[in-house]
């Protein structure tokens, strides 16, 4: 099902579209320091504002989904995209994806999963839980450009 190095959701792109002139704010989650630096630069090069988190719990905190905050006011920061590593100690990217999709505040936020291993069952389970895309590591500029283009609803 995955051709090349990435799989895309076939659902409509309406949840990707941003207001014209807005700079996308991306939350990048990865436990590896080098990968965080790399993804941050790749995203900045594609004109995104970037916040990085080194694990799932920190990411949830940033999004206002920390388990001790049981309110619907969404005190978390607004992000237009979450891009997360799959293999992380503690909470995996898959578990983070599920939590994001289960919350009313964040379920519309597109989530992209990155992994060094292109395992079909892994890709499928992420896509089934609502991941927008599954990208193989190491990330390249062309991967990120494709992503941000979809986010900004570029035509052509």
């Amino acid at each position: 099902m995955a051709s090349g190095s990435a799989a895309s959701s076939s659902s409509s792109c309406s949840n990707w579209v941003m207001e014209n002139g807005d700079v996308p704010h991306v939350l990048a989650v990865d436990d590896n320091l080098i990968d965080r630096k790399l993804i941050e630069k790749l995203l900045r090069n594609s004109s995104c504002r970037v916040t990085t988190a080194e694990n799932g719990p920190r990411a949830l905190e940033f999004l206002g989904l920390a388990s001790d905050k049981q309110n619907n006011l969404g005190t978390g920061s607004k992000v237009n995209l979450v891009i997360t590593d799959y293999c992380m100690p503690g909470m995996t990217g898959y578990e983070l994806l599920k939590k994001i999709k289960e919350s009313a505040i964040t379920k519309e936020v597109p989530v992209v999963i990155m992994s060094s291993e292109n395992i079909p069952t892994r890709v499928n389970e992420c896509m089934e839980k609502g991941a927008q895309m599954f990208i193989q590591k190491p990330l390249k500029q062309s991967d990120v450009k494709k992503l941000t283009c979809q986010l900004m609803n570029c035509k052509g």
């Binding site: 080098i34 990968d35 790399l38 630069k41 060094s116 590591k137 190491p138």
Partner: protein, 154 residues
């Protein structure tokens, strides 16, 4: 040595690193990310890689030096090292890690010890090569030149 000569030396040296398999195309991705806003991006990321790798290699050495080896923990360290080396294009280190993970999975202590030695060797080699490369870059910049852009066309 004048700038043109230094630049040619840099190109030849870089080519050799690719031809000998020390680096792969991911390193070119890093170089392409370097610009006027981030003129030291490659050195910064590679320096992080050096620090991170040395810590991981220490942790690995300790973890394999135990009475009851925790292979899952060792595998987690190797996974990290595989990830970082892959992200910066350190191909030979990455390939060592792939073999290493197999031995961790098999809980094969001899295989693990051998791989540890190999990965340490490959790490030292690529570290020396990259430090030499960065030295050439500093010389070029000091002489008022700019670092050529590398195309993988050879």
């Amino acid at each position: 040595m004048e700038v043109g000569q230094m630049q040619r030396q840099w190109v030849d040296y870089t080519k050799s690193l690719f031809l000998e398999g020390f680096l792969d195309s991911q390193f070119l991705q890093l170089q392409q990310l370097q610009d006027e806003n981030n003129p030291d991006f490659v050195v910064e990321v590679v320096s992080l890689f050096f620090e991170d790798s040395e810590r991981l290699l220490n942790d690995l050495t300790n973890s394999l030096d135990q009475q009851g080896i925790d292979y899952k923990k060792a595998d987690a360290y190797v996974h990290q090292l595989k990830g970082s080396s892959s992200s910066i294009g350190a191909q030979r280190v990455k390939n060592c890690c792939i073999a290493f993970r197999n031995f961790c999975e098999q809980q094969n202590i001899d295989g693990c010890i051998r791989c540890l030695e190999q990965v340490k060797q490959e790490y030292c080699l690529v570290k020396n090569k990259l430090e030499t490369l960065f030295g050439l870059e500093r010389q070029i910049v000091a002489a008022g030149g700019s670092i050529p852009t590398m195309e993988l066309s050879f």
